[in-house]
């Protein structure tokens, strides 16, 4: 990189300073970042890796500075491509414009020894460095002590204590951000050789009159229960169950409000827009599309609220600790459990939650597996199909057969997810070395409301920006496929349709849409599964959201109530081909449909979420492809198996 000496000389006082914020995970780094930047942070991705980039502007008393919150790390010695990002941001030629003007290092006062080891590495970079000492209150509470003035003298760099919730520390820090070139720097950087740096650390701790804190009794007491083999596991299941139930009991009514609101808007359109097709377009495509995006927000906000709370208190690492062995069998690790569990509600927040996994390979394998967890959108489809397949009064011993089938479908999804994760974790990065597994179990702490709120805000806005556009676009495209070309009432009357019967009109429209053309063209592909061209139309419509399959199928069967079309569907017959006159929904076909829905990635929202998390279209397309093929193959197998069993 070339030097630009004039550039750095003329910029003092007028240019916006740019600082890199580094520190180990759990050292209060993100809390500090939020305190400095408020909700003005922007997320993005670092080029070439699936690592999120957080940068925000701190404004105070007429000044401003850009702070870049680098991923939490224990070391500047990278052992994965993700970790190299931190080095790449820090390690520019000092006078290069891309180089940060200063580095802020957060060091947890209760684990000062390890923090100094990291600091020694950071001081080697050669940029102006400022140490922010956090959790001083915890240190005092546990009977430890350190003389910060002496520490500053021993290190040769500014040392500023900041406690969460204390504005004065942040203020003092911001004062320093005005002119990083004025920060004292040590004449000689600390050693990096392992034996020498240990000696350096000890000398600094002695000079600072360091008194190590006693073990955190509160955390130990809580851990005696929370990671106890019996109690810990029980509490874990209870917490996960509650986590999960909250989605359905709390998010569902909120989602209901959103749907009602958009339904009301749709009613307005119906009343005021006289052009029939335009009314339907505004209603179904535009309002439906926007509503279809916003309906995710209660679920995502709630899930991320709970994840942020569990993460902030420190319980998340205990949960991951308990689940690690099981996840390791699938080639993953304990932290992947929460992402997979969230996917049972909806794969979109589940996929977004994979960000907590340090290993890129684990993240990708979990992302590939998450859509297989039985999400809540599959439920209406399963309910409808199981009701057609299994008689309501059939029992297996004391248990109802329908309930058992549903349970088997859920279990099947989970087993499929684990198998797929195992498979992908072997394929992805098989040339690289296996990353070591380690997970710090931090002290239990009460998370700051601001930090939790910030996490929720970030995830919702990221969802809206990146995933929302994909959902909206696909809704518009699908509306076009299912509603074009437009048919006038005269045309329909001439074809023998009773134009005052809404169900008949809808059926005609669907039967003569572009999607119908695609459905007929795709018949050779899907007829081995027993699907006819109308089922294909419904499958196409379910790309927007799986549950739409039910209502589209109902409309195609001209059912009186499209939301409950079981009876009408049972009577639906093949219109042409070798099976003309025979019912479409035979047990082998229903079984094939169930299996197909279990696997196929028919959800543009999920595709959008994968795109957002991986930063590329490659992985969502691979996921769509392999899950579609797998779905077809297994559905075919199911069709043959059930046909053999029932013949």
């Amino acid at each position: 990189m070339s030097c630009h000496p004039t550039e750095s000389g003329s910029a003092v006082g007028t240019a916006t300073r740019h600082f890199a914020l580094v520190g180990s995970p759990n050292s209060g780094k993100t809390t500090l970042f939020n305190a400095l930047t408020g909700l003005r942070a922007k997320t993005g991705n670092y080029p070439g890796v699936t690592v999120s980039r957080y940068a925000g502007t701190s404004r105070w008393r007429g000044h401003e500075a850009v702070i870049e919150d680098l991923p939490g790390t224990y070391s500047l010695d990278p052992i994965s491509p993700d970790e190299e990002i931190v080095d790449q941001v820090l390690d520019h030629d000092i006078d290069s414009p891309a180089s940060p003007d200063g580095i802020l290092v957060t060091v947890d006062a209760t684990v000062l020894r390890r923090g100094l080891g990291f600091l020694a590495q950071v001081l080697h970079v050669g940029l102006p460095t400022l140490v922010v000492v956090t959790f001083g209150d915890d240190l005092a509470r546990r009977g430890g002590n350190v003389d910060l003035v002496a520490l500053e003298k021993a290190l040769g760099v500014p040392v500023i204590p900041v406690t969460a919730g204390d504005r004065s520390g942040v203020s003092t820090l911001q004062d320093h951000l005005v002119d990083p070139s004025s920060w004292p720097q040590p004449p000689v950087p600390p050693p990096v050789d392992p034996d020498e740096v240990l000696g350096w650390i000890t000398s600094v701790l002695t000079a600072a009159h360091w008194k190590a804190p006693s073990v955190d009794a509160r955390t130990s007491r809580i851990d005696r229960v929370l990671i106890h083999p019996v109690w810990g596991s029980l509490i874990f299941f209870a917490v996960m169950f509650t986590f999960f139930q909250m989605i359905f009991t709390v998010a569902a009514p909120l989602q209901g409000f959103v749907e009602e609101f958009f339904g009301w808007l749709g009613g307005l359109v119906d009343r005021y827009v006289t052009i029939e097709w335009l009314g339907r377009f505004l209603n179904e495509a535009v309002i439906g599309g926007v509503g279809g995006v916003l309906v995710f927000i209660p679920q995502i906000a709630l899930l991320f609220l709970m994840i942020a709370f569990l993460e902030g208190t420190g319980y998340m690492s205990r949960a991951a600790f308990l689940m690690d062995r099981l996840m390791a069998r699938a080639g993953l690790e304990g932290r992947a459990f929460v992402a997979l569990l969230s996917s049972v509600a909806c794969a979109v927040p589940g996929i977004m939650a994979t960000r907590s996994l340090p290993s890129a390979r684990d993240r990708l394998a979990t992302i590939m597996a998450a859509p297989l967890m039985t999400c809540s959108a599959r439920l209406p489809v399963y309910v409808m199909l199981v009701a057609m397949l299994v008689p309501a009064d059939q029992r297996v011993g004391p248990i109802g057969a329908q309930g058992l089938t549903m349970f088997a479908l859920y279990l099947g999804g989970a087993i499929a997810a684990m198998t797929v994760a195992w498979f992908w974790s072997r394929i992805i990065g098989r040339r690289g070395t296996r990353l070591p597994f380690y997970m710090e179990m931090p002290s239990y702490r009460m998370p700051k409301a601001r930090a939790v709120a910030s996490a929720v805000w970030m995830s919702c806005s990221a969802f809206l920006r990146k995933v929302g556009t994909v959902i909206l676009l696909s809704t518009l495209v699908l509306w076009g496929l299912l509603n074009l070309p437009l048919h006038s009432t005269e045309e329909m009357a001439a074809a023998g349709v009773n134009t005052s019967d809404d169900a008949a009109v809808t059926e005609y429209r669907l039967d003569h849409s572009i999607a119908a053309g695609i459905g007929r063209a795709a018949e050779p592909v899907f007829s081995p599964l027993g699907f006819d061209w109308r089922v294909n139309i419904a499958v196409i419509s379910s790309l927007a959201a799986r549950e739409v399959f039910v209502s589209t199928m109902g409309q195609l069967a001209a059912a009186e109530d499209p939301e409950d079309p079981g009876a009408a569907l049972a009577q639906m017959e093949h219109t042409d081909g070798p099976l003309v006159g025979q019912p479409v929904f035979t047990p082998p076909t229903i079984a094939a449909m169930l299996v197909f829905f279990m696997f196929a990635l028919q959800c543009m929202a999920t595709v959008g979420a994968i795109r957002r998390e991986t930063g590329t279209w490659k992985w969502p397309l691979i996921a769509f492809g392999y899950l579609g093929v797998l779905g077809w193959l297994l559905a075919f197998g199911a069709h043959q198996a059930v046909a053999a069993l029932t013949s």
Partner: protein, 95 residues
Amino acid sequence: MSVISATLGQRRLRVPEETHRSAADLTGGESAPQVGMAPDAPLAVARRLFDLGFTPGAMIERLRRAPLGDPTVYRVDGIEVALRRREARCILVAR
């Protein structure tokens, strides 16, 4: 590759000559000082464990093991870290 990562990547950690047991062999609640890294430990893993706080001379205490057998929580210098058996075997401790 950046300068700092190249420098840090060249660090070599102490491998004791005599055989020792590893952190994976500690029993529940037992403490022992670390003597170095296992000779067959991958270099990157050894360096990462060092940066986590598993340094020669540090007292390693084995806390709880997960119900399914792995991982195990170790306390070193006031920090609690869960390690799988595979990584714990890299850390050699005194008798």
